[in-house]
């Protein structure tokens, strides 16, 4: 690494504070060692595979079915979360009611509860003899071991992403803006659809994208409730594990590569949304 202290090096502005070399050097080194090099291996391994082999294992019938399932259920769960997450964020940002602090803390439960615990708990609830499943079973509704079960697990995992994206924006949206709409003759409904909703739109979209991205990669909470039938309820992360257990490293790597590219695309999308909304609304 070039010495950051070199005078000719203008990539860093001078500062009176000491420790740049140490902290920057250490953090970049650690980042490279723990994150960048390991992540790079997956792309190198894919590249070493050859294009046709990559397509063959990365887009096999079983793999495509798994992608479709993972992305489809993550999108469905993201949508459910966009709606209910907005509702929860609205209620938390706007109203006061007894127990609000507890409810506010509870929203972060999916961040704190290990996914495996969530997985077995949801399965226990929705299994045909479970607390909720026993009432759904006679109606012919199967949740556990179907796509609906996967969606429920992903709704659990993704909810806080939407709530925590939208809530601060809603809270920041000045009361005076809504009053302004009212003085100009807007009904409450018009104020919501034309003033509030467009203002929180980017945050809602960001929350949806975060929940979606998390849902696509989610493993622990899903595998217990999904039933894991190849081609039907086998999510992509599970397929990677299955391939690994069969020592099919190429298959696992190819599927992982496809998923990682998809994740990075989503990440890029999120950044674009945020840059766009910042540029429009001012810093």
């Amino acid at each position: 690494m070039n010495s950051p202290f070199s005078k000719r090096n203008r990539w860093r502005q001078p500062s009176v504070l000491p420790g740049f070399g140490l902290t920057f050097g250490f953090s970049l080194g650690w980042l490279t060692l723990i994150v960048l090099i390991p992540l790079a291996t997956i792309f190198l391994k894919s590249a070493g595979m050859g294009w046709s082999d990559f397509i063959k294992v990365g887009f096999s019938e079983r793999a495509v079915a798994a992608y479709r399932l993972s992305f489809g259920t993550a999108a469905a769960a993201g949508l459910v979360n966009a709606i209910f997450g907005l509702l929860v964020a609205w209620v938390l940002a706007r109203y006061s009611f007894p127990g609000k602090k507890v409810v506010n803390a509870l929203v972060d439960l999916p961040f704190a509860l290990p996914t495996a615990v969530a997985g077995i708990a949801l399965t226990a609830l929705y299994a045909p003899n479970g607390w909720i499943g026993q009432y759904l079973d006679p109606l012919g509704i199967n949740v556990a071991f179907t796509r609906i079960g996967i969606i429920i697990a992903l709704v659990f995992i993704g909810l806080p992403f939407v709530v925590r994206s939208v809530e601060p924006v809603l809270a920041d949206l000045g009361k005076d803006v809504e009053e302004a709409a009212a003085t100009l003759g807007a009904t409450r409904h018009q104020t919501f659809t034309r003033v509030i909703f467009p203002a929180i739109g980017p945050a809602l979209l960001t929350g949806f994208a975060l929940a979606f991205a998390r849902g696509v990669g989610e493993y622990g909470s899903v595998i217990f409730i999904s039933g894991n039938m190849p081609g039907k309820t086998e999510i992509a992360p599970l397929l990677i594990v299955t391939q690994l257990e069969q020592y099919a490293y190429d298959g696992a790597t190819a599927i992982a590569t496809v998923m990682m590219i998809a994740s990075f695309a989503i990440l890029l999308g999120i950044n674009l949304i945020q840059a766009w909304s910042r540029g429009r609304a001012g810093a």
Binding site: E179, T183, L184, Q190, R194, G201
Partner: protein
């Protein structure tokens, strides 16, 4: 005509307004002037319908609008921090009020657009319709907020601290321009301010408020020259306050008898108010300054066309400010002067 009758309002235990009565004639430009917490903003928000009074009535042209929603009152409201819709362009902001009307009352899209353009021209922002509020300066945002409020053709324009968030130069220009606009459009306008200079310069009549009550309503001249209460006297314009006692119709400062008529003021402790420019200097000779206030000049600077002299008054242990003609030779620091107010008011101090 706007009539406010016996309005009272509490926020929890805090009385924001107490029995307010006020009548505003069509075409008037009214300032609600007072320190923060005086209730001026609350009063304006009640007139607008953004807040509801606990008791009393608001009448527009004799009709009680107390139960009418804000949207139905036909008021234009300009918010202190503008409250522009950030995600809409300037033109969309201005057009908002027209575009949310019920279909049968709503002008066509083309008409709305033309109207928005026209208003932007009126507030001297023609051609900026496609910008977003974030891309405008503070003064420009203020004018967008004004154009947006005017778009719904309000019979009453309400402005909350309209110049509060602007820097001094822009503020002065915008003030003059707003006054012109008010006259040009024949509006009735009320604005809230804590800046007495702004109120004196702009308003036809000033409503001075403090602690939820109206202290005085009057023209700038009346409020300045004939303050109805010590609060008004103190709050509007600069003032010197001197604690005195009235005994047998004579004003005394400690042992010293001042050469100022008590105008039949009742005996007891009182406060003498006089403005820095309402003074003359007594002669320097012995005994000439017997009826005045002796001060030692402590500081001196030019203020506009006058000399501002700050002098310490030993008998009061406080600083008295006076203005002297700039043409005169200024006194030196440390010199003793004897100041005699030419115009003053006396207020009883027991009440407050």
């Amino acid at each position: 005509m706007i009539t406010v009758q016996n309005i009272s309002k509490r926020f929890g235990d805090y009385p924001a307004l107490h029995n307010i009565n006020l009548t505003i004639e069509p075409g008037e430009f009214i300032a609600l002037l007072g320190p923060s917490g005086s209730g001026k903003t609350t009063l304006m928000r009640i007139i607008a319908g953004l807040e509801f009074q606990d008791s009393g009535h608001v009448l527009f042209d004799g009709e009680d609008v107390s139960t009418r929603k804000v949207a139905e009152r036909g008021v234009g409201f300009v918010f202190q921090h503008y409250a522009l819709f950030k995600h809409m362009t300037v033109a969309e902001n201005v057009a908002f009020g027209l575009s949310v009307r019920k279909r049968k009352d709503r002008p066509s899209k083309v008409d709305i657009k033309a109207r928005a353009e026209e208003l932007l021209g009126l507030v001297q922002l023609g051609g900026l319709g496609n910008r977003y509020p974030a891309q405008l300066s503070g003064g420009q945002r203020q004018r967008v907020a004004l154009a947006r409020a005017l778009a719904v053709e309000p019979q009453l324009l309400l402005l909350d601290e309209p110049f509060g968030a602007l820097d001094a130069k822009v503020r002065k220009d915008l003030r003059r321009w707003l006054r012109g606009l008010h006259e040009q459009m024949g509006l009735t306008s009320i604005f809230v301010t804590h800046d007495q200079e702004e109120a004196l310069e702009l308003a036809d009549r000033i409503v001075v408020m403090d602690h939820g009550v109206i202290e005085q309503v009057g023209t700038a001249e009346q409020v300045y020259m004939e303050p109805a209460s010590p609060f008004v006297s103190d709050f509007v314009g600069e003032i010197n306050r001197v604690d005195v006692t009235v005994t047998n119709g004579l004003i005394r400062l400690h042992d010293r008898q001042l050469d100022i008529p008590a105008n039949g003021h009742a005996d007891g402790p009182a406060q003498l108010h006089f403005r820095p420019h309402d003074v003359e200097l007594a002669g320097a000779g012995a005994g000439a300054g017997a009826g005045g206030l002796p001060i030692i000049v402590s500081n001196l600077f030019r203020k506009g066309g006058k000399w501002r002299v700050e002098g310490h008054c030993g008998a009061l242990d406080r600083v008295i400010e006076i203005d002297l003609d700039a043409a005169d030779t200024p006194p030196h620091v440390g010199v003793q002067l004897v100041v005699r107010p030419t115009k003053s008011r006396i207020f009883h101090t027991s009440g407050r």
